[in-house]
């Protein structure tokens, strides 16, 4: 479960606008607006084009943000990815 890989939305599918502490995401496919807070925008930004699992994501995020990629990050990222998938913003690879 914590190793499940996800793929980001196709290029151009999401319009992401930071609005202070919130980030508004318009999904052009569903026409839905999603409002998310950190770390969701950071996760989406770190996904890249290839499918990636929480371990890969933790390593990428650790390079940009100040946390330990080997610690609690992986299960937390797995949960956040599952939530993003439930919103339709990423999909299971």
């Amino acid at each position: 479960m914590t190793d499940r890989a996800y793929r980001s939305a196709p290029a151009g599918a999401l319009r992401i606008e930071a609005l202070g502490e919130l980030t508004a995401i318009f999904d052009r496919r569903s026409m839905q607006t999603h409002l998310v807070v950190s770390p969701m925008p950071e996760i989406l930004g770190a996904m890249g084009e290839e499918a990636c699992n929480p371990a890969v994501l933790a390593a990428r995020l650790a390079a940009s943000f100040d946390f330990d990629s080997e610690g609690d990050a992986r299960p937390i990222l797995a949960e956040r990815l599952a939530e993003l998938a439930a919103m339709g913003l990423v999909e299971r690879a």
Binding site: R15, E17, L19, G20, E21, L22, T23, A24, F26, R28, M31, T33, L35
Partner: protein, 288 residues
């Protein structure tokens, strides 16, 4: 329909038909000073009709219809035909308009810049707009503000202001009685009396104004001013927009731009005089 009239409020051309003469006559009096173009096709149609043919005479009761119908809308007695017409007009705009993003908000303008006030019924947004409209501001509307999705400008919808309960006496004390409609007592929304906007506000109703300040008023309580972040303003305005979802990405773009470019505050005020003073102070500080 036996009786009908055409009314242009801001960019919306209404055609209103009625089984009875009274509501149409009342509307024609309220909207006598508005520009008329009998040849322009209607954007929205409102029909006030009797439930059964004989009901036109016997205990007359007005049903509201039009391009869009809310199935459980209650019929109103004929004495409230004007209110039924107003509700019908609001409904057709709220549900049908697509050319602008529609905000359930009042607005006034000064020097081509708009102050937009959004709030629930009872927040005082309508009374504040009406009073500011008598105090050197151009009244853009007490109920709806239209935002051009492409340019971001605010457009007016200056229908006759719907004064409710205590606001009636407050405004009546300041304006010529000829600018007030009949008192509609004991409606489902309490007492209502309409105020005809000033002639200069009607004459300027097609002029855009750049949004400059967003306020979320709350009537009752100690004076308080709280800055509102872009995210919260965005959430509140999606809730205040009747056509945000229908506009798709154009609505998303218009709203993100509006909250980014316009400072927003939640204000609490104990009475209208304090509210007006607070608005003046914030305008002087924020809009240069």
């Amino acid at each position: 329909m036996r009786h009908s009239t055409r009314i242009a409020v801001g960019p919306v051309q209404f055609r209103i038909g009625s089984d009875w003469a009274e509501p149409v006559a009342a509307l024609e009096r309220l909207y006598a000073g508005y520009p008329r173009d009998e040849t322009r096709p209607a954007d929205a149609t409102v029909r006030l009709f009797a439930a059964r043919p004989w009901r036109r005479w016997l205990r007359p009761s007005v049903h509201i219809g039009g391009d869009f119908v809310v199935p459980d809308a209650l019929p109103l007695p004929l004495s409230m035909g004007l209110l039924a017409a107003e509700m019908g007009m609001n409904l057709q705009v709220a549900l049908g308009w697509r050319r602008h993003m529609l905000l359930h908000a009042s607005a006034v303008a000064k020097d081509g810049r708009a102050l937009i006030m959004s709030g629930e019924s009872g927040s005082g947004k309508s009374t504040l707009a009406a009073l500011l409209g008598e105090d050197g501001w151009r009244l853009m509307g007490d109920e709806f503000t239209l935002i051009d999705p492409a340019a971001g400008d605010a457009f007016a919808f200056p229908r006759a202001v719907s004064l409710k309960n205590e606001a009636i006496a407050e405004v009546a004390a300041r304006v010529d009685a000829a600018r007030l409609g009949p008192l509609l007592a004991g409606t489902p929304k309490g007492d209502i009396r309409h105020l005809i906007p000033r002639a200069d506000a009607i004459a300027a109703m097609h002029e855009p104004a750049r949004p400059a300040l967003l306020l979320f008023p709350r009537f009752g309580g100690e004076i308080a001013v709280e800055p509102m972040g872009e995210g919260e303003a965005f959430v509140r305005l999606t809730e205040a927009s009747t056509n945000y979802v229908a506009l798709g990405e154009a609505g998303f773009a218009a709203l993100t731009r509006l909250v980014r470019e316009t400072p927003a505050f939640c204000i609490t005020y104990p009475d209208s005089a304090a509210g007006i003073a607070l608005v003046g102070q914030l305008w002087a500080e924020m809009v240069r």
